[in-house]
């Protein structure tokens, strides 16, 4: 045991001695490189998916730059400092969600925004994507692991309050992601397997109850269309049939950049937002998709590495949850566009057009960087 700890110490020692400019700026070079690669790739695909729309491209590049700045700013904060503000952030987040419920701005049948005219318009649920894993990590970090029953119950309560509020907006996609981010903290914290299995077994009757009492008609329709898209080929099934055709027709090497017929002839809906993976699949084929998945795997691998190497339990739990939630984004989006999963509105991280989700995602990576670069040199041992 002691030997192992010594080895950790010595490697920290080496790192510190070789500390480069990047480290002093609290930047993780690997993550930054991968993110920049994805950003460049995203702009290429967007150029094609948007029908060569430069305005859109410039907007996306701007959002990315803003996101990078936010990420770098967040990376400067010590995670120990962040954990001190968690209760306030959580309380504030829930209060804002309640405010949305009461005075929120409604668009396209959903009330998701707080709108102060002329000043700002934002979605509190976006902020909750970061605050939620932090809250559970903060709560469990000071308890003994694996979490005891009482702590699990309190964690679940902390998770379900904002999830329920967001579900009510209604925003199924976001509420599922936030639920996942909280649950992953519990998972990384060593939630016992028998409880995990028990929860999965209980999920079936809960899902049945959801179907009858909670889900909106449009959500039910999505599930039904997912189960049998052919049943409604002119209506809701249209998207899935067309996106599958786009991906499938790409073949191994794709039709070539800007050569996709599906997206350019308007067959593909939402081609530059949620369904952008279909454009990639059509124009760059299986190779393009594998390359993108490989980049994602590297990002996730780096995230898990940071999890293992984090110094504090708070850092470990938070980093683990953020990384796994990131994978959920990827899996749910690609799964839904290719017809493996039902259609829930989840963008493809870093590739889909949209500033809000970019900034949120990059904030998460800023936290990962902060966890990795703010390490105390434990001298007292």
């Amino acid at each position: 045991m002691n030997g192992n700890f010594d080895r950790n110490l010595s490697s920290e020692d080496v790192l510190r001695r070789r500390s480069s400019l990047l480290q002093r700026l609290h930047i993780d070079g690997v993550l930054l490189l991968l993110l920049l690669l994805l950003a460049v790739g995203s702009l290429f695909i967007l150029y094609s998916a948007s029908g060569k729309n430069w305005d859109l491209l410039i907007k996306q590049a701007t959002s990315f730059s803003v996101g990078l700045v936010v990420m770098l700013v967040i990376a400067q904060f010590d995670p120990r400092f962040m954990s001190r503000w968690v209760p306030l952030a959580y309380g504030g987040g829930v209060a804002l969600l309640v405010a949305v419920e009461l005075i929120g701005h409604t668009a396209m049948g959903a009330t998701r925004w707080i709108n102060i005219p002329g000043v700002i318009r934002f979605q509190p649920s976006e902020m909750m994507k970061i605050v939620m894993p932090m809250t559970i990590a903060w709560y469990l970090a000071s308890r003994s692991l694996p979490p005891r029953f009482k702590h699990i119950v309190i964690s679940l309560a902390l998770i379900l309050v904002p999830v329920a509020l967001i579900l009510k907006q209604p925003d199924l996609g976001t509420s599922l992601l936030i639920l996942a981010s909280g649950m992953f903290v519990l998972f990384v914290a060593g939630l016992r397997w028998r409880w995990i299995i028990g929860a999965v077994a209980a999920a079936v009757p809960i899902a049945v109850a959801m179907w009858f009492f909670v889900m909106h008609d449009y959500q039910k329709r999505r599930v039904l269309t997912f189960l049998d898209p052919e049943s409604d080929p002119l209506g809701a099934g249209w998207n899935i049939i067309q996106s599958k055709a786009a991906i499938g027709s790409g073949g191994v090497f794709g039709k070539g950049w800007l050569m996709g017929t599906q997206s350019h002839l308007d067959f593909l809906p939402e081609s530059h937002t949620d369904f952008i993976i279909a454009v990639l699949g059509e124009e760059f084929g299986l190779v393009g998709i594998c390359l993108l998945l490989f980049l994602y795997l590297l990002l996730i691998g780096r995230g898990l590495f940071i999890t293992v190497r984090a110094q504090t339990l708070f850092g470990k739990l938070l980093a683990g949850s953020l990384t796994m939630t990131f994978f959920v984004y990827v899996f749910v989006n690609i799964g839904m566009v290719s017809g493996l999963l039902p259609v829930v509105g989840v963008p493809l991280p870093f590739i889909s057009y949209g500033g809000t989700s970019l900034v949120t995602l990059l904030s998460g990576f800023g936290i990962l960087m902060a966890i990795h670069t703010h390490k105390k040199w434990i001298t007292q041992v």
Partner: protein
Amino acid sequence: MPQPIRLKDHERDARLVRRRVFVGAVAVLLLTMLLVCWMYYLQVVQHEYHSTLAENNRIHVQPIPPTRGLIFDRNGVVIADNRPSFSLTVTRERAGDWLHVLDELVAILELSPEDRALFEKRVRQGRRPFEPVPILFELSEEQIARVAVNQFRLPGVEVAAQLVRHYPQREHFAHSVGYVGRINEQELKNLDPVDYSGTHHIGKTGVEKFYEDLLHGGVGYEEVETNARGRVLRVLNRTDPQPGKDLTLHLDLHLQEAAEKALGGRRGAVIAIDPATGGVLAMVSQPSFNPNLFVTGISFKDYADLRDSIDRPLYNRVLRGLYPPGSTIKPLVALAGLDSGVVNRSTRVFDPGFYQLPNHSHKYRNWNRNGDGWVDMELAVQRSNDTYFYDLANKLGIDRMHSYLSSFGIGQRVSLDMFEESEGLMPSREWKRTNRRQPWYPGETLITGIGQGFMLTTPLQLAQSMALVANRGQWRRPRLLKNADGMSPEELIAHELLEDRPVPDDLRLRDPQIWDQVTHDMEMVMHGPRGTARKVGDAAVYRIAGKSGTAQVVAIRQGEKYDRSKVQERHRDHALFVAFAPAQNPRIAVAVMVENGESGSGVAAPVVKQVMDAWLLGPDGQLKPEYRFNEPVSLPGASQ
């Protein structure tokens, strides 16, 4: 040694997290592998299939519009059917520079710039770029030939056979059955985009509009493989559309024609109802128009002619025409008087030719300036004596009159299934307070009693009030639909295929004999020695119960006399007549309005009789056997 314990704790947590991260990493890898396998399946195994879908030879899902349901009259005569017609379609995606193609087309067919603008508008309304949009209908042989010869200059232009709505009875049912027209942008927003994906026409008025959901049916679709030019190579899969329901109406073509003939070219309205079923047997609003003009898009000039005509052919006088009911309301007021007990059969009023409210100088004139002397109810109805009814109205008061007349349907929509029916107006104190911000004056009660003043009714409401008297107060909402593929309107409502308009409460009188008394008085109008319409009644081979009325078009000043020679033709009174027959066994209730016809009993009553004759008489000129009145079977023991 507290420190090592703390360190050990840390180490244990770290190991736990490490194990979980390992599990997570394995799950991420496995799920990523699943995605890759699925992509492999889509992009390699199913590549051919999806390529066919997406490439130029791609598989289209084409909607197949359902065949619109037919409309028949009660005897199975076709009122609306669908005829094959050749139309010209443009498919934007295949036309390339389609604006240029339209220019070419206009040049080839020698059409006008207005047509060109219309075509462009129609193409722009097309929903998806690969769907053909019809732009010109009912092509002639020559036009088809010209397009065929110049096909190479017209990419994306095709001649297609389509079913187009056709109304073989033309003007006869334009106001009742209505017509279909092209779906406009406003309607497009409210339509189910899937159900109407292959449909270009929608009901605009009348039965076509009201029963749109039933007539339209359900869309079908087929997956077709097409080549680059859009030619269908083969049909891979087909789901048949569900045709719309065929509607059979209560309307009767022969009666409709007879009613139009009876009106004889004059402007006016005729409506005939079968009291037993509420079925509308004839609905005439003259002048009428040819509904076929509207189906494929009416030309601007034709439309302007119809819209601006002083005779207002587009105006549905039966459902939307609002007229003061005049004296036709008197039997209902008489009934109210008897039932409420303010008068009885022998109550008499002396008529010096006018009526005055106590302490008022204003003279409310009887139409007969000389007065009829002592008048009881029977004579009052027979002679249409205004003085008696001023007095009766004064005794009843506006509140009771409002209550009774409302229960006859005045001031509310009475029909079960008619589009854009007007409510009319049954005034009350409440109404006057909110709408005129004035109290109700006693004089207004008097003129309400003879159907003048604020009260406004549609011919349909007048006919329904007669059907109610004929039915002894039992409500059946007037309806056009007899059945839709065998289902009656009541069954349709039960299956939620038709909006439910609840039936108003039946009229229950304290003494059912009052029905017979009112019917008797109305019979006297036709057959009594001093009846206003006795000339018409004398010629009838059956007994009619009726009442005449006139609806003022322009007000006459106090003390002035209505002098027809001084009044312009368009300012003359409208003639009204309502009736049902045979009086003891009612089979038909009729209301007639002749615009500027002046005399209810002189002009409108003969029309009523001709309509009734057409319905009730057999070829031998006698009452049809099934309509003959059978003496009621006497109750057992009563004969002893």
